[in-house]
């Protein structure tokens, strides 16, 4: 803070006409003094993250952002998303459950935030349940099947053009059909629609735009 005080004293010694100029100078300095970890930087890091360590780093940044700004829905949203991603990357079931449970805590908070995009929240709820099933398919598959389907349906009810909800719903339905030695008949149609919608999404905005890599992978595997 010393350098800020120094700047303020300096400003006082200069004519008032120039205050505006120095005010902008201080504003210019703020990014250096407060933090470089604003949400847009973190979101950029999330989009680049791939390994467990990379996700942990962004998770910790998001956790700090959630504490400083508890009403910022996007911070909680991305924290829950990062938790889910981490649950896929850690080995032990105990660790997986810690992340999956923390994602649930943040999703509950999102349910009470009026500005949250509920289509994205429901999609993430479904994605979290998918992680829960992936952690123990035999026990959790029958238990959460209905809930995951319902989450994607709710997401599409709010926004029928949510590419993540369309894609994850199609992937899940296809997985279930494969389990019965069948295939989901609208799979290609849904994936094409999701691909079109993904193409139209901004990759620089703060709003959720993840998921295209899942679609690309699924199209390769199919």
């Amino acid at each position: 803070m010393m350098f800020l005080i120094f700047n303020i004293y300096a400003i006082k010694s200069i004519k008032m006409k120039t205050i505006k100029c120095y005010f902008y100078a201080i504003l210019f300095l703020i990014p250096f003094t407060v933090s470089a970890q604003d949400l847009s930087c973190v979101v950029g890091d999330i989009r680049k993250a791939n390994t467990e360590n990379e996700y942990v780093q962004v998770r910790n940044q998001l956790e700090r952002l959630c504490i400083v700004n508890p009403k910022e829905w996007l911070a909680h949203y991305y924290l829950a998303y990062t938790d889910v991603q981490l649950s896929f990357r850690v080995a032990s079931k105990e660790e997986k459950m810690k992340y999956i449970n923390d994602a649930q805590t943040n999703l509950k908070k999102l349910s009470d935030m009026s500005e949250a995009d509920m289509s994205e929240v429901y999609t993430l709820k479904g994605f979290r349940l998918y992680a829960l099933i992936a952690s123990d398919p035999q026990s959790n598959g029958p238990k959460y099947f209905g809930e995951i389907t319902l989450s994607y349906e709710k997401a599409l009810g709010v926004n029928p053009n949510n590419p993540r909800a369309i894609m994850l719903s199609a992937l899940f339905k296809n997985d279930m059909a494969k389990f019965m030695n069948k295939s989901y008949e609208n799979f290609n149609q849904d994936m094409e629609k999701a691909a079109t919608l993904f193409a139209g999404e901004s990759t620089t905005a703060l709003t959720p735009s993840w998921g295209k890599e899942w679609l690309d992978r699924a199209l390769i595997n199919n």
Partner: protein, 715 residues
Amino acid sequence: MRRISTFIALLLIGIVSVFAQQRAIEGKVLDERSKPIEHANIFIKGTTEGTSSDTEGHFSLVTNQRGDIVLCVLMLGYSEFTITVSEKQSAPLLIKMRPDNVTLDDVVVVAGNFKLKGESQWGGMSAVDIATTAGSSGDLYRSLQTLPGAQMVGESGKLYVRGGESRESQTYIDEMHVLSPYTTTGSNEPVRGRYSPFMFEGINFSTGGYSSEYAQGLSSVLPLTTKDSSPISKMGINPSFVGLAGGGTKAFSKSSVSMNLDYENLGPYNSVFPDNLDWIKPYQIFSGESQIRFNTDENTVYKTYVGYDRTSFAYHTNPLLENSLRDLNLKENNLYINSTFHRKTESGYKFFAGGAFSFKKQQISDAKVSGDSFRDKEWELHLKTKATKRFTNFLRLNVGVENFFRHYQMAYADSSSVHKSSINHSISALFATATLNITVNLSAELSSRAEYTSINSSWNYAPRLALSYNLNGVHFSGTVGKYSQLPENKYLLLNQGLSPENCIHYIGGIYHEKKNKVYRLEAYYKKYTDLALQNSDVLNSEGYGYSKGVDLFFNDRALFKNFEYMLAYSFNLSKRKYQEYTELAVPQFSTKHNATFSLKYNIPSLKTIWGITNRYASGRPYYDPAKEGLMNSTTKCFNSLDMSLTYLASKKVIIYASASNLLGRKNVYNYTFTKDTSGPGGYRGTPVSASSDHFFYVGIFITLSGKTAYDVSNF
């Protein structure tokens, strides 16, 4: 130009000052066992300035902040750690994290305890697992009988645990007592549980050393937990060899209603697979159950469950001991209502309040002799409230009060007399449990129960201490606890001054779980005192006895993919002088050796789960009047090889089939004797065995609603 120069100069000074006044805070983050924690989140409180610890737990946080700063450390599974760091601090910080409340509360003292559902580390058995355990026939209690500690009493079907009678095992639903958890059947026909395992989210089976919160059980408790919410609307039906069931759930935004109706009639089954009973009216049971759940917010849950069932059957009977044929005819009505309220406050208190009403009315004609009539009616009202809070990392307290109001009446009439009798009484209790996390590896649970029984105007005090020590993943535990229970109604009707029966449990155990393998060994000694004793015409509380033994358990889910097997063995020595046993003798239900081998193989390509279970029990003692002493003979051993098959026919259809005692062994549980001068010693013995050597079941579970698949639970 001059102004611009001034601006640039100030800017440079500002930037230089930023770097000139930076300081680094360094340190290491350790867990409760002094092992480094990787990925801990270290930051300056109130800011987003922070860093993460590396694989060695080291961190270095560079900041411009001057003076004292509050450093905060977060890590999932650990309590928040804060420390004020002065500007003069130069030595690296050593930060030791402690497990958070959730993690601490998971460190349960596990002696005698089997958690079968939920996120337990001791097992992951789901309702589907229970249903697919061969030999269980989808019945919760039969499935539990494959675990160590449970004894095989084939003609009963009820739980007999560690040398204790079935009445010494108590069932709780959502923490409220269930007076009559079993269905009623004919003579030597194993009963089933009244409640479907698919109703329950959590199943805990404690074979001893349980919390003092649980009342009126000398041997074991089975606390069952229903779902707090059921977010999916669904419907399903279940036609089977023996009946038809169906129901569903309607989910709302903050509540849900579930209902299930079930009708079973063994008439068609008996016509295909006849047993040795001469049926007049086949065994029939109609049951209906419903549950309403309200989740007013994420911390509050109201649940109300109502279950009703009606059982009826009649058969001709002509036992060897009787001269005349009689037509035993039974009708029974059973009602259970359970309403509970849970609330978790922001300050960390958990409040619970509940009420449960159990009612059972039974009417039997030709019960003992032709023309007689036996009626009994029993009800219980259980009220309970408690509060729980973790005050510190060291201490968690649970305090509550409860009342049981009980009524029992019976009437027996034969051609020459009418006998009626009834009792009304209550049990009031105060219980408290303190969980102490003494060190990160050592925890203790101290609990006590003070109980007043109105029927004999007596106070009873039951303390309990349980210790658990974790040595590198190997859990050692020891429990000493006193438990009490009022004598059976039939004795209380005769003498209301009988003392509560007491039993002290001493249990020591070792548990280990690694890589999908669970190892468990427990030794126990139970000392019974104040048991009801019928000595000639005197009924008093001078009975006593003991039960001791060892339980072994091994479960392996790692041998190869989709394959699981389990070995359970129990050794028990039990003797009692009680009831009609006028000298210390092995009770008729007791078996020295019990062993179960169970395997399950899931074949995804065939969409099937195969289950095989073999249950063995050594011979049961019985009294041969031609010989000296009580319980002077032993039956041959029990063995049953059971099999089950679960087939996922389509996304919404499951076919389940099971068969018990495939080898057709004639299992004998006891002998009854009649005077016969042509027999050895003047008596003729008749073996007591099940009315049927086998039981076959085929059921189809059909999910009717659109959003669910292979979901056999309508709740």
